[in-house]
Subunit: 286 residues, 2 copies
């Protein structure tokens, strides 16, 4: 099951056999006042800088989201995509809940992007999947619908299946649908992480598709977030999440360690190479 | 499924619902030249110091192993148990492959210990389980037999079942058998960790027993061992290992984070308390 993404010149393959693909989360104004202010002024310098920094930190793909109150995403999202393509050459993840903004971004993107996202809501399924088909892109399917995010694992698996089957009926192969079982803050719902890992394991065994996850949400409101995020990421990767959306600079080493342990890093070459680089840079081991 | 251990005055309960119980690994001369030399001289000062340090670092139980070339375990193991009981008051894990040394240690121990270990080998089953029954102790069952450690998960599960069933026939309840699916260096066998997690998940679902694991072996010969051990520990705990044998000072925070995420730490009180203590001591967050 291979999801193939590309930039102008580079291809990235997401699969359950290969290395975990890290999607950089930081081009997203949610909770970031400076970035919100910059986007409201139409300034994309911070977006460019975040793109450069994340790729330097080891991001394989970058998520690009400019959704903030007062921002015209239909105009700004394609500009942000172009700005990021100016400075880095990794595949991008076009992130918006507005199908018109997604369409405008798809029109300027060079390569094969991932689109974030479609839900199991009827309006989203028909609008977004039509764009995915037309532009031959890959898409992230969120396990939620018009009623919101179901707390039970069983219902999230049903929604994942609904999205995958609808995509297939529209001629989008299953390998181009990446499922997101939706991570929520553990502090708000103590049973959430258990339901989430149950959903992840079931989607892997029942649908076999590739899976993403916004790995940082889980620690919202808690101390030592990197430890919680990294620990959770290890568990999620082992269960089947193979292209998480993360703060790459903070949790890349947890993903590399998990890949090294579970047969996704031949002879542990990437793990050992990364360790040597961190040593050179004088970073302490974990 | 509760395994109850005790020291003179303290009880520790191992269960799949409660917090992960950490068994301190450091009183063991394997690979420790200073401790080997001290034990050969019959000196137990280092053993006492390791006991104090590990309990201060958060160990719930201490493994006590004095097996080294030239050491008379039958004489030294009970002395070491007494020395540890002098300085700390946590339940102990009597660790020897020599049934006579185990018996001598059981004779001096005050409380209900864990015995490390019995294997599925006939001689071990009959000798060690008889001691467990006689002294009303709990025991660690290693998934190996006279032919060694089977590489396949399926065979390890069979051996775990054999040990549990034999114990039950001898009147030792299943809750007093803690299974160890046997961790081996990932560097020596790349498929090892995958087979191991498969065995752990199957033992949990098929036998329901409590499980230990020597969590440090996996990173033998690799750099940044704490990262690998901590990452693997998170995965192992989520799958069902609930009383790992670890270097407590190094990986306790990974266990606490995993417990906090997966519903084994009500309101995340232990995680937050530990974070505050680390902050006071000026330690960097992970």
């Amino acid at each position: 099951m291979e999801t193939k993404l590309s930039s102008r010149t580079r291809e990235v393959i997401i699969s359950h056999e290969g290395p975990t693909i890290l999607i950089g989360e930081r081009i997203n104004p949610t909770g970031k006042k400076k970035l919100q202010a910059a986007l409201l002024e139409g300034s994309l310098d911070l977006v460019r800088q975040e793109a450069i920094d994340q790729v330097a930190a080891g991001a394989d793909v970058l998520d690009v989201n400019v959704g903030a109150s007062g921002v015209d995403e239909v105009s700004l999202l394609p500009q942000a995509i172009l700005a990021v393509m100016e400075v880095v050459d990794v595949p991008l993840c076009i992130d918006s809940s507005n199908p018109r903004a997604i369409e405008a971004a798809l029109a300027v993107y060079e390569g094969r992007p991932l689109v974030n996202s479609v839900t199991a809501d009827e309006a989203s399924l028909s609008d977004v999947l039509a764009l995915i088909k037309k532009h031959d892109a890959a898409v992230i399917g969120l396990t939620m619908d018009e009623k919101g995010i179901p707390p039970e694992a069983s219902r999230r698996i049903e929604l994942a299946r609904k999205i995958v089957e609808r995509a297939e009926r529209m001629g989008i192969p299953r390998e181009d649908v990446v499922i997101d079982c939706l991570n929520m803050p553990a502090a708000a719902n103590a049973a959430g992480p258990l339901a989430l890992v149950e959903a992840i394991a079931a989607v892997k065994s029942q649908l076999g598709v590739n899976m993403t996850l916004g790995a940082s949400n889980i620690s919202f409101g808690l101390p030592d977030r990197t430890l919680l995020n990294g620990t959770f990421l290890a568990v999620a990767i082992q269960l089947g999440v193979n292209c998480p959306v993360v703060d790459v600079a903070k949790v890349r080493q947890y993903a590399l360690a998990t890949d090294a342990l579970f047969g996704r890093d031949s002879y542990m070459r990437r793990y050992i190479k990364d360790f040597r680089q961190r040593q050179k840079q004088g970073q302490q081991p974990a």
